[in-house]
């Protein structure tokens, strides 16, 4: 009788284990069976480029090389490629900007598309990169490319939100410094959300152009009722 009344600890453990297993299974099934609430289906050709969830861009205020003020709001309604770099950068930055100029040349084959597409070069070295020095650097690669600089805090807001980064590295001789920085090209959609990332080495500029067109098509489809 006493044996029947008291529940053995082993039995309790067994019941607990079953409960935990069932719980885990049902959670797994739920995740499996429920449609993904917010993550989008990324087509195979855009894997590793298109984010499954867009990321909002916070408010910021920077100055363009033509003297105009650029804010989060002023980016709305157009697609923007963003590259973070600096004018004293001899290898990565000119390579990336040259590649993006070639991408834009490829995009000229699509009538009207460039009217709503812009390339922004955001300086991560605002101490040396004034609007004036950006004016002599950025449009060299393509006349309609825009260079942005400003308060370092504003630039940090932007890089942090996008998952980019940069850091000053003093020269060993103490003569000057270089800036280490993210080398990806960030794509913002017309709602000013980070939607895709192009990682270096991205020398296949025709492919980048094609993928950008595919991303725009996908966006247009998503917007259809």
């Amino acid at each position: 009788m006493t044996q029947n009344r008291s529940i053995s600890p082993k039995f309790l453990l067994f019941v607990l284990a079953v409960a935990v297993a069932a719980g885990a299974l049902s959670t797994t099934l739920k995740v499996w069976l429920l449609p993904h609430a917010r993550a989008r289906q990324v087509p195979e050709q855009l894997q590793g480029i298109l984010l499954d969830k867009t990321k909002p861009v916070p408010a910021f205020r920077l100055t363009a090389h033509d003297g105009t003020t650029v804010t989060r709001e002023s980016l709305a309604g157009r697609w923007h490629f963003l590259f973070f770099g600096y004018t004293h950068c001899p290898d990565i930055c000119p390579t990336a900007m040259g590649d993006m100029a070639a991408v834009f040349t490829n995009l000229e084959a699509h009538p009207g598309l460039l009217d709503t597409t812009r390339m922004l070069f955001v300086s991560v070295d605002p101490d040396r990169d004034t609007p004036e020095s950006l004016k002599q650097f950025v449009p060299y690669f393509r006349a309609d490319f825009l260079g942005l600089t400003g308060h370092i805090g504003e630039i940090e807001n932007l890089t942090r939100a996008l998952g980019a980064g940069f850091r000053k590295i003093p020269d060993k001789e103490g003569e000057g410094y270089q800036v280490g920085h993210t080398t990806s090209v960030f794509l913002l959609d017309p709602e000013v959300r980070l939607t895709a990332l192009f990682h270096p080495p991205a020398h296949d500029t025709q492919l980048i152009a094609e993928r950008f067109v595919a991303i725009r098509d996908l966006y247009a489809k998503e917007k259809q009722p």
């Binding site: 004293h88 001899p90 000119p94 040259g98 060299y140 590295i169 920085h181 020398h203």
Partner: protein, 184 residues
Amino acid sequence: MKRFPRTQGLALLALLALAPAGGEAAEVVAREAWIREAPPVSQVLAGYLRLENRGATPASLVGAAGAAFGRVEIHETIMKDGQASMQAVKNLAIPPGGQISLEPGGLHLMLIAPQGPAPLKAGNQVPLTLAFDDGSRLEVTFEVHKTHQNAGEDPHQGHGPAAPESGTGPSDHDAAGHGGAAGH
């Protein structure tokens, strides 16, 4: 804009001139040497090339200099924590029978403080002297290109795929004469 001392470059040039030519020099040839045309304001440019070691002993690039720049350093772009930065390379080894490519996004010659009266433009030819750890040197003519997209072809391919553009050691003059390398 910061001024870079020209004297350093001249000092290295003088050193290169004094270095014993040839000797036990490894047979290194340079190919596809090019410099990226940069915005006229740029105080730092990048040079790229492929170095082939056709000798039986290891070769090691330790420096470069030229009248067109205040200073030249061997640099490598490295990725750390998702960020790119540049690191000076003191000694660039090329194994016997092997080759090493200096190309965008990786190894490059960092060309500091351009000295010419006008910025370098696509099509310009720029002579640079490469120095190796055995005291040998190699004169290489770099051609200025806008991008790597049109720099891939060997500008001297008319001389045949096996024709060296330039070489180290006593045969230096000959090879340079045929291959189009200048700077002598």
